[in-house]
């Protein structure tokens, strides 16, 4: 950027890069000022004047919104990996507004300075529609100087410099994104999106609990919390002993088997998707691809999942090697940040 352009914009004290990962369950940001923040992808608006006065806020996010959800109009705007805005019903505008507020909030949490240029790359699910992308861009433009969108699994691979002959499995709450990297920008045929993801595990877990313990009372949020605390696919796992109310009385339950089986339920879907991507790849490099599978996303925190996928790959596809990335929560955001950093200045200027 030339000095003249800097003076015009009135911002000449630095450039802040931001990488944002928009997820169904969690939204994260990594920024070049050292800030890394994550917030659960929930948005809530006080239902009435009384709750507004009590909460002292017009909009709540993340865990705070969950805590006060009974007093809020509560939204989870990024369900199934896309904005819940595809159906043109009454909730469309509201979900759109919630998504935009969520994006504004995560950018605000990166604590950008007003005297700095802010360049952001936002990772979006591979199959986000043009409507969704437009909404994301509009929301981001209110607080950043220039913004680009990229595919989330691509951001993960770019961040780790795994650009060739790599299969990325990004397990989120709403979707599992599989992406094939072969040294160039992945195309649509290089990406597969599965609906069976973290939320599906919650549903399966809840179903199994209801089948085994019909008297137990619980909510989706409670099931999710138990899963996040104990999730594992291993034969030998920490016992899942929790208290759930039965007709108002806290009662102890052992949910170990139910949780294990629920977590295992996504493995066949993932391996089937991998098979699809491997099977359509250059046969000469298929074995190499199978040996370089990267596991990312919040769902990768399920203990033993990498080994379980490997085992299934050996059974179905003949071989496989799965590596879990070190920072599942921030892997996408870190990768998006690296893309932002590497993007040439003139590209940012043209997109202002």
């Amino acid at each position: 950027m030339s000095a003249d352009q800097k003076q015009e914009s009135g911002k000449d004290h630095g450039v802040l890069y931001m990488g944002v990962d928009l997820g169904t369950s969690r939204t994260s940001v990594s920024a070049s000022n050292g800030v890394r923040e994550t917030v659960a992808s929930f948005v809530g608006y006080p239902k009435d004047v009384v709750s507004q006065k009590l909460l002292k806020k017009d909009v709540l996010f993340g865990d705070e919104a969950v805590k006060h959800r009974l007093s809020l109009d509560f939204y989870r705007p990024l369900e199934k990996g896309v904005l819940k805005a595809s159906a043109r019903d009454q909730s469309y505008e509201k979900n759109l507004r919630a998504a935009q507020h969520l994006i504004g909030e995560i950018i605000r949490r990166a604590q950008p300075r007003k005297d700095e240029l802010v360049y952001a790359v936002i990772g979006v699910p591979a199959q986000a529609s043009i409507n969704n992308k437009e909404a994301i861009l509009d929301a981001a433009r209110e607080t950043v100087d220039s913004v680009m969108l990229c595919s989330e699994p691509f951001a993960v691979a770019y961040g780790l410099d795994w650009l060739e002959d790599v299969l990325v499995i990004d397990i989120g709450a709403g979707t599992v994104d599989l992406c094939r990297m072969h040294g160039t920008m992945p195309e649509d045929t290089d990406q597969v999106t599965l609906d069976t993801a973290g939320d599906s595990v919650d549903e399966e877990f809840a179903k199994r609990i209801r089948d085994k313990h019909p008297d137990a009372q619980f909510t989706t949020q409670m099931v999710k919390s138990i899963k996040e605390r104990f999730s594992s696919v291993a034969d030998q796992m920490e016992p899942v002993i929790v208290n759930l109310p039965v007709k108002g009385k806290p009662t102890e339950f052992d949910l170990t088997n139910e949780l294990r089986e629920a977590c295992r339920s996504i493995v066949p879907h993932i391996v089937r998707g991998l098979g699809e991507l491997i099977g359509t790849f250059d046969p000469e490099f298929q074995d190499r691809l199978k040996e370089r599978v990267l596991l990312a996303g919040g769902g990768s925190l399920i203990k033993g999942l990498d080994t379980a996928i490997e085992r299934e790959m050996h059974e179905i596809l003949g071989s496989g090697k799965v590596v879990r990335i070190e920072e599942p929560i921030y892997g996408g955001a870190n990768g998006a940040l690296k893309i932002a950093h590497d993007m040439p200045a003139e590209f940012w200027e043209k997109l202002k």
Partner: protein, 368 residues
């Protein structure tokens, strides 16, 4: 001194008093200082990057470091001089009878001593640095204990944000604005007095009354009453001359050169009066210049006060959660380095990504 026990830095119940009780003692000491008019200093001390040290070297090293800092604090002070406790891995210590200068000196001593501290973990030598927030409550300043703590917390935040290994001192907001208000009131009062040309005890003029300068004795005859000594009051020049002539008339009229002598004496006397008047005028002019200098100095001081007020407002804005942001590590746009291992491949990917975004913009604009 206060009779309180030695500082209890226990975060558990093992000490003589619990942290909550220690903080209660601090409130009492602070209230006493307000009532009897002596300053108290509050130091809030945090070990820089303590969590990272914990992650790298374990919880034992963290405790060892905290113990080391507590011992250090006792070594650089008189142990009976303060009340202290641990709150969320921060050391809070209250020092009665400690002025702003004293608190700053103490913080400086603590920092210098901490740089010489060394710890060991698994055979590795560790060093720890400190960030210190300092706040002082002045006597009769009506500063509450909460304001004192908030000011120290903010100062600590500044110290850590600036990289640690330093102390920052802040005045509680209420005390700062009290001082500022008093200074400004005094400045305005002095300026007003000088504008009127009156001393503090003179009554103010009635509305419509001519300014006091115009009522000065005729011998002064200046538009403004000068602060320098005025021309001594006395008869007009012609009267003086007549008085001297009268003296000569009393002399023997037959004396030779009497008339000439009379005229010379009168001329000398008149010149003496003129000289005295000239000196007085010069002194008055010098007085005006002095007044201008004084006013200029006061304007300069007011400007300094305004600058510090602005800085204080920024601080308060931060304390109230109005975030001014954290600076990026980059001063300029970066871009892909040509020395990057997969430079060509990455450049290609980034170009494709950029073009996809341009295409997306066009599609969106085409729809709207």
């Amino acid at each position: 001194m206060t009779g309180f026990p030695l500082a209890n830095f226990s975060a558990s119940e093992q000490g003589l008093f619990s942290p909550a009780e220690i903080q209660h003692l601090m409130r009492i000491e602070h209230a006493r200082s307000q009532r009897y008019g002596y300053p108290v200093g509050l130091l809030l001390i945090e070990v820089d990057r303590l969590e990272l040290l914990h992650d790298l070297y374990g919880v034992d090293s963290e405790q060892e470091i905290l113990d080391g800092v507590v011992k250090l604090l006792r070594s650089v002070t008189r142990g009976s001089d303060f009340v202290g406790c641990l709150v969320d891995d921060r050391l809070m210590a209250l020092f009665p009878h400690t002025s702003a200068e004293g608190a700053a000196a103490l913080a400086g001593r603590l920092l210098r001593a901490s740089r010489r501290l060394a710890f060991e973990s698994d055979g590795r030598s560790l060093r720890a640095t400190l960030s210190i927030g300092v706040s002082v409550s002045q006597p009769w300043s009506a500063t509450s204990f909460e304001e004192l703590v908030e000011s120290a917390v903010e100062a600590l935040r500044f110290a850590m944000a600036e990289g640690g290994d330093r102390f920052v001192q802040r005045q509680p907001a209420s005390a700062f604005f009290d001082d500022l208000r008093q200074e400004l009131d005094e400045e305005v009062r002095l300026l007003d007095l000088e504008r009127r040309g009156r001393g503090p005890s003179a009554p103010p003029p009635e509305p419509g009354e001519p300014p006091a300068a115009e009522e000065a004795p005729a011998a002064a005859a200046e538009p403004e009453p000068p602060p320098a000594p005025a021309v001594p009051e006395g008869p007009p020049d012609e009267e003086l001359a007549e008085g001297l002539r009268a003296l000569f008339r009393d002399l023997d009229p037959s004396s030779p050169n009497l008339a000439r002598l009379e005229e010379e004496v009168v001329a000398v006397a008149q010149r003496a009066v003129e000289l005295a008047r000239g000196r007085a005028a010069a002194e008055a002019a010098g007085g005006r210049e002095q007044k201008i200098d004084l006013l200029e100095r006061r304007v300069s001081k007011l400007k300094e006060l305004l600058d510090s007020t602005e800085a204080e407002l920024v601080r308060i804005a931060r304390a109230k959660g109005v975030d001014t942001g954290i600076a990026s590590i980059y001063r300029t746009v970066q871009g892909l380095s040509a020395e990057e291992e997969s430079y060509t491949r990455k450049k290609e990917m980034l170009t494709v990504l950029f073009e996809a975004n341009v295409e997306l913009r066009k599609k969106i604009q085409g729809r709207s």
